[in-house]
Symmetry: C2
Subunit: 150 residues, 2 copies
Amino acid sequence: MEQRIEKIKKQLHSQSYKLTPQREATVRVLLEHEEDHLSAEDVYLLVKEKAPEIGLATVYRTLELLSELKIVDKINFGDGVSRYDLRKEGAEHFHHHLVCVECGAVEEIEEDLLIDVEKQVESDWGFQVKDHRLTFHGICKKCQVVTVKS
Amino acid sequence: MEQRIEKIKKQLHSQSYKLTPQREATVRVLLEHEEDHLSAEDVYLLVKEKAPEIGLATVYRTLELLSELKIVDKINFGDGVSRYDLRKEGAEHFHHHLVCVECGAVEEIEEDLLIDVEKQVESDWGFQVKDHRLTFHGICKKCQVVTVKS
DNA sequence: TCTATTAATTAGAATGATTATCACCTAAAA
DNA sequence: TTTTAGGTGATAATCATTCTAATTAATAGA
């Protein structure tokens, strides 16, 4: 935990941003909820427990900043809220998501499945790919069982 | 054009919805702007030219309905607005998008590039894929030229 | 250290997209 | 014709996000 915060601090400093107490509190919340896909509101409520004087706008600004620095990924599942994910150590890209249309669970895929597809896009469309967003909608393992049973 | 409207009419009827004049006007606008990615507001303004008495809420309701029937796809490029695309004749899935981070242009890919990836997800993660959303962010052909020149 | 300047913060107002409500309307069924 | 079930338009309400103004903290230079 502390090392990762230290690292993020350096990333901020390298762009002459500071790791203020509010920003640190926000980052800590993200680290403690790496598996979840928190909305700005969610983050705000969690940060407030440690740093009650923080403002919602500050959380938004912090998430926006972290997003620009590629420390977090801002994602959108189409439910009208942006969600923020810590980018995994060393990851170049967005990870992918499996969204269950039955129960709403979100699973993550760390592996990059799109190497070949990106190559194809670059050669066939002349489009220089920088990043991607891939989400599958379907039925997760758990819900498949339920469906079969009922 | 007329055949496609006829077809959409049937799709609506099959779920006991009606193709009202407002709905038809909305569908016509979508058909006439198949290549664009119109927001609800855009659609509203265009429909208003033909049917000035239509209300914004009706446009939203119509787009939502068409989206449920998989006649249009509701997409989200993260700019805070939902956009609506007519689904191509016979297409099972969402098409993919190439969004240029320089000029904002959006190009479409009709081909389904994800057949193999979907198979892999189904076998490796036991997730039954129903649909997908794939967007690439990068630099389009045009902007690559400009970048090289300058 | 003191001071000027700049960056960051907060609370709350403002904005913009979307959804809900409600009174009215229409078309077709009974 | 009366009934019924959707549809519709205007407008209000809601919700996420951004902006604003005033305040405070941090920093660099004298």
